[in-house]
Each structure stands twice: as C-alpha cells, then as structure tokens.
Symmetry: C2
Subunit: 132 residues, 2 copies
C-alpha cells in the first residue's frame, strides 16, 4: 500500500464503451415501446399506415406516426406516398433494417430460453422483499 492505492482496479473502460456505446445508439432508436414491432411488421412486406394501426394492438395514432417518422429518419424504413384519392402510403424496410433481424432474433432466443429463470428470480425477490 505505498503510492498505489489511488490506482484502484477500475472498471475496464475500453471494453465497456466499445460495446455499450453502440448499444445505447440502438436502444435510443428501437428501445422504445413500438419500434421493434413496427420493424418486424415492415420487414416482411410493405405495409400501409392503417394496417399497422390495426396490426399493432394498443398503439395510438400519435405514437404510430411518431415512431414511423423516427425510423424513417434513421434510414430503417422508407415512406412511399401514392398520390391517389384517398391517399395511400406504404412503409418499406431498408436493407439495414433487415440486417437488424438477426440480432433481434438472438435477443428473442435469449429471452425465451431464460423466461422461466427470470420469473422465478422475480418471485423469489418479491417474496424476500415482502418479508422485509
């Protein structure tokens, strides 16, 4: 314990930041309540606004529009307006959105595999908390 005790074995920053920062970037895009569902829907085929509204139960008009705009802005989907009457608008996934499917599916696999473990952990934790 000479001069070295300010040299606390700090958390290895390079590792964390190289993984954490890109992930935060993604989460800022698709970490919200509706983006993933919209991406998955649009990945399969072009989808119209009203289709999405009916196909994603519980989403509000406002949030659908807002989420679509953000995804379009990030280049994850393309908005195509057909100047017909009544108007028709189609949303289409871009290539990078399609490439996002695999990572998403990897997350889903993890979640399905450990769902039981997590639920059990929750129950145990809550019981302990309830007993104070």
């Amino acid at each position: 314990m000479s001069q070295g005790n300010t040299a606390v074995p700090d958390i290895p920053d390079p590792f964390i930041h190289e993984v954490a920062c890109p992930i935060r970037d993604i989460l800022d895009r698709v970490g919200n309540k509706w983006s993933v569902q919209i991406i998955l829907a649009v990945i399969q085929r072009p989808v119209r606004f009203t289709e999405l509204e009916r196909g994603i139960p519980g989403i509000s008009r406002r949030m659908l529009t807002l989420t679509l705009r953000n995804l379009e802005r990030d280049g994850l989907l393309v908005r195509t307006v057909f100047p017909t009457v009544p108007p028709k608008v189609e949303y289409t996934a871009t290539d990078i959105a399609r490439e996002l499917y695999e990572p998403l599916e990897a997350m889903a696999v993890w979640a399905r595999r450990h769902r039981g473990t997590i639920d059990t952990a929750r129950v145990a934790y809550d019981e302990r908390a309830a007993r104070d």
Copy 2:
C-alpha cells in the same frame, strides 16, 4: 371482391408476436439508460457500488441503486454484502447475464457497421425537413 374484402391481408401476427414479445420483455429490463453498462461492467468481475458509480460517468446515485435493484430482481446479478465496517457490497453477474453478452455484442456489431449509413440518412432527412 366478393365476400373477401374483410379478409385484408393482415400483418402476420404469429411471426411478429413470437419475436416482438420476448424482445419487449428484454427491453423492459435493459432498454433503460444504464442497465447495459452495468451488466457489461459486472460481467467481467465482481464490482463494488462505488466502483460502478465512478466507472459509469453521469449516473446518479439514485439511478445506480434503482437499476441494480431491478437487475438483481430479474436474476441478472447477485448482491453480496460483506458485514465489515465500513460496509462492502459486491455485485456479480449471473450465468444468464453472461449469456446475454453475445446478443448484445451482435447488436453492437450491427450498430458499428451501419453507423455511417444511419448518420447520412439522418442528415438527409433533416435537410429535407428544413427545406419543408
């Protein structure tokens, strides 16, 4: 257009929900501002509270505690109290947290690969929006 026009080609729900629901479960856990950084830090070795506080710039005491509690509740990390004085508490990643690393890294790979494309898309979108 006989009786079939209520049979709109709806979004293939089974596909979406089988992927989207588990993903929403994850995002409800690690989609917040700090969880990923904490998980990555703890995955490498047990870490103390104050180490995390210093190692994760910008996090508030409150959010660190809160996020740690939630991760512990979900069984992603274990809290160990050493009854010394002053007290010492270590947080350790569980196996399922370690298994989460691969999916996270897959997301990070996607993000790093397409960062440029996304930035370009944003700039283009914002320019168009600015021109009205």
